[in-house]
């Protein structure tokens, strides 16, 4: 199902249809057929442009266009959607105007805007050939349209899908024309065509909206879908070592999805490489489940916020023996610890000033956020509170239990 073969088949179809309708329409004097033949000639030009766009979209990415040229498909989709919408409006208006010839109240409204045409002939036309040509053309449009849509989806070509949908709509119009011509020829009731044309116009308008909005959404880099993104997040956060997905951006470049993820993890080096490999696999699994077969994934690992802060430990020292003080007043030293990533990165001991207020001021000057000791005395809590320092109960009197390396404490 090469996209080029598909569009070549479509082009041949339009050449045959246009040629047949124009020839037969002129021979049997059927304005419906000749008009539809001219429409098919315009469709030929559109299909040629889609083929050209497909070729451009196939060009590989380069430094100037790192995501390639695939977005040209969205331009084609948007234009096809707009064109189909205008066609739907034209078909609907034409049907309303012609129907007004059979409905006086409607005619009174339509006549305000345009001239109400005379009713189509009630006697049968001379030939069944126009109905047969229109019916055959409708059948070909449906078959080729379905083939085009399937080929476009398999190859990830939104412009071919859009053109295929438009071909299917053409088939609908041709089927309505066939019914109208047949009812005029066999039943003398050409008006049957007009309500059917209105129905087809509604379907065309809906399809035009879908195609056009998809194309414009692609140009505006709309995300691939909140459901798919949530599945991606759910799949990634179950991986051990992943803290969070800090940023996830997705969009379509043509029929190819682009996923850009920034992931927070404390792991680096080889471990981060392993995690990244599995994250890419999980993203691919989610995209395949969402029937997105073409994709580009970009994952970057960033370390989490270091959560850097300062903590003080009130210590009592006797020669080489250290333990956490019961209260701030009984401490002989204050150990000022720099904490980062939940661990002590650096500590420094300072001798305690005489008075409690001076001790609190010293801690404030060192930008300490909390002070550890074994007991909570109200006066000390209040004094520290004046400097926004929290008094925290230490779970043990042994500094080793608080994370201090025994090597640096001179302890075996």
């Amino acid at each position: 199902m090469s996209p080029y073969i598909t569009m070549t088949i479509v082009l041949v179809m339009y050449v045959v249809k246009a040629g047949m309708k124009l020839t037969v329409g002129a021979a049997v004097d059927s304005p419906v057929l000749t008009g539809d033949g001219a429409h098919n000639a315009a469709d030929f030009v559109e299909a040629a442009l889609v083929l050209f766009g497909t070729w451009i979209a196939s060009r590989p990415p380069n430094g100037e266009y790192p995501f390639g040229w695939r977005n040209i498909e969205h331009i084609a989709s948007a234009l096809i959607g707009i064109g189909l919408g205008l066609t739907a409006m034209h078909v609907a208006w034409d049907a309303v105007v012609r129907l007004s010839a059979y409905m006086a109240p409607l005619a009174s409204v339509v006549s305000l805007i345009t001239t109400v045409p005379p009713r189509a002939g009630t006697t049968g036309t001379g030939s069944w050939i126009p109905a047969a040509v229109a019916g055959g053309s409708a059948l070909v449009s449906v078959v080729v349209g379905r083939y085009e849509v399937t080929s476009g989806r398999r190859n990830g070509r939104p412009s071919i899908v859009a053109d295929g949908e438009e071909t299917l709509m053409d088939g609908g119009i041709e089927a309505v024309a066939c019914i109208g011509l047949a009812s005029a020829h066999w039943f003398g009731a050409p008006w049957i065509e007009y309500p059917l044309a209105l129905f087809v116009a509604c379907i065309m308008a809906h399809t035009a909206w879908e195609i056009g909005s998809h194309g414009i959404g692609g140009l505006l880099q709309r995300s691939i879908g909140s459901d798919t993104e949530q599945h991606m997040r759910d799949a990634i956060v179950t991986i051990p070592g992943i803290l969070d997905i800090t940023d996830l951006r997705t969009f379509f470049a043509g029929g190819s999805a682009v996923v850009i993820a920034k992931i927070s993890s404390r792991w680096s080096g080889d471990a981060a490489t392993h995690l990244k490999e599995v994250v890419l696999e999980r993203i691919a699994e989610v995209l395949v489940d969402a029937h997105i077969l073409e994709h580009a994934r970009f994952v970057r690992f960033v370390p989490p916020d270091r959560e850097q802060h300062r903590v003080a430990v009130a210590l009592v020292t006797h020669a080489t023996n250290f333990h956490v003080a019961s209260t701030l007043a009984t401490a002989t030293h204050l150990r000022i610890c720099d904490i980062a990533d939940g661990a002590i990165e650096r500590w420094k001991d300072v001798a305690c000033p005489e008075r409690l207020a001076e001790r609190a001021e010293l801690l404030a000057a060192k930008r300490v956020q909390k002070c550890l000791m074994l007991m909570a005395v109200t006066e000390e809590r209040q004094e520290l509170g004046r400097h926004d320092i929290a008094l925290t109960l230490a779970p043990s009197h042994d500094p080793v239990h608080l994370g201090h390396d025994p090597v640096y404490l001179g302890i075996k």
Binding site: T238, P240, S265, D270, A271, L275, P395, H401, P406
Partner: protein
């Protein structure tokens, strides 16, 4: 206690740090699931004599784990019974420990819903040793087993399937493992590949298979560059290191 219970007790050092709290949480979760005591190891003997200190430390542990806690003096491996597991941070996983060592940065035994046990097999007895422990642990935790083997590609064999490149010794080990798993009716999968690096293959397979832990045992012939050490260094998944019997180590 069932005779094939994998553990008799779970120990963890007392540390009031982020990683220390994670280790206590993991140890508590494991002890609860295996229905064994949780022992928190203190740096010195004081807590045994100091009632207030013991109360402080016990209270602290109760904020981290719901499992009942027993405090015991510092790490003395000769006093610990067989089946003792020591939960530590990866950088503290000691090569010479005679007990089961669990290196973890995750706070739960089934982190984020991951449940299976990944057991790498080589061409020696270390994989079988790890597998026996893994079987007992998998039955206790009611989880699956994933056997993993990475083989060197034999250039004389022009078959892409990695299974065709497995050496005879490794094939005997894998077959014995599968037979053993069949006799105990354990749910298991087998992954064989030709990984660029063995440690990377083990870790990535464990991540792909959504493993809760990697179970390994040290080989007796490796002089340098043990795969166990490499995996412990690089694995975000907890690694359970099964000790080597003294007669095998000598």
């Amino acid at each position: 206690m069932p005779h094939d219970a994998p553990l008799t007790r779970v120990c963890v050092p007392f540390r009031d740090t982020r990683n220390g709290r994670i280790a206590i949480q993991y140890a508590g979760d494991l002890a609860a699931r295996c229905n064994v005591p949780l022992v928190v190891l203190t740096h010195d003997d004081d807590p045994c004599d100091d009632t207030a200190e013991r109360a402080r430390m016990t209270r602290y542990c109760e904020t981290i784990t719901t499992c009942p806690v027993r405090l015991e003096p510092a790490y003395r491996p000769d006093t610990f019974p067989a089946g003792t597991a020591l939960v530590v941070q990866p950088e503290q996983a000691d090569a010479s420990d005679a007990m089961i060592v669990i290196a973890t940065t995750e706070p739960h035994c089934a982190p984020r819903g991951n449940r299976s046990l990944c057991i790498p097999l080589g061409n020696g007895s270390s994989g079988i040793r790890a597998m026996e422990f893994g079987i007992a642990l998998a039955r206790t935790l009611d989880t699956d087993i994933v056997l993993y083997h990475s083989t060197w590609r034999d250039p004389r064999i022009h078959i892409e399937d990695p299974k065709a490149h497995v050496c005879a010794d490794a094939r005997r080990v894998i077959d014995a493992a599968q037979i053993r798993l069949g006799t105990v009716h354990a749910r298991c999968a087998l992954v064989i590949e030709t990984a660029e690096r063995v440690a990377a293959g083990i870790i990535r397979t464990a991540l792909r298979q959504r493993a809760a832990a990697i179970v390994m045992s040290r080989g007796t012939h490796t002089g340098y560059g043990s795969y166990v050490d490499q995996v412990v260094r690089e694995s975000p998944i907890p690694v359970i290191i099964v000790p080597t019997p003294e007669e095998d180590a000598s």
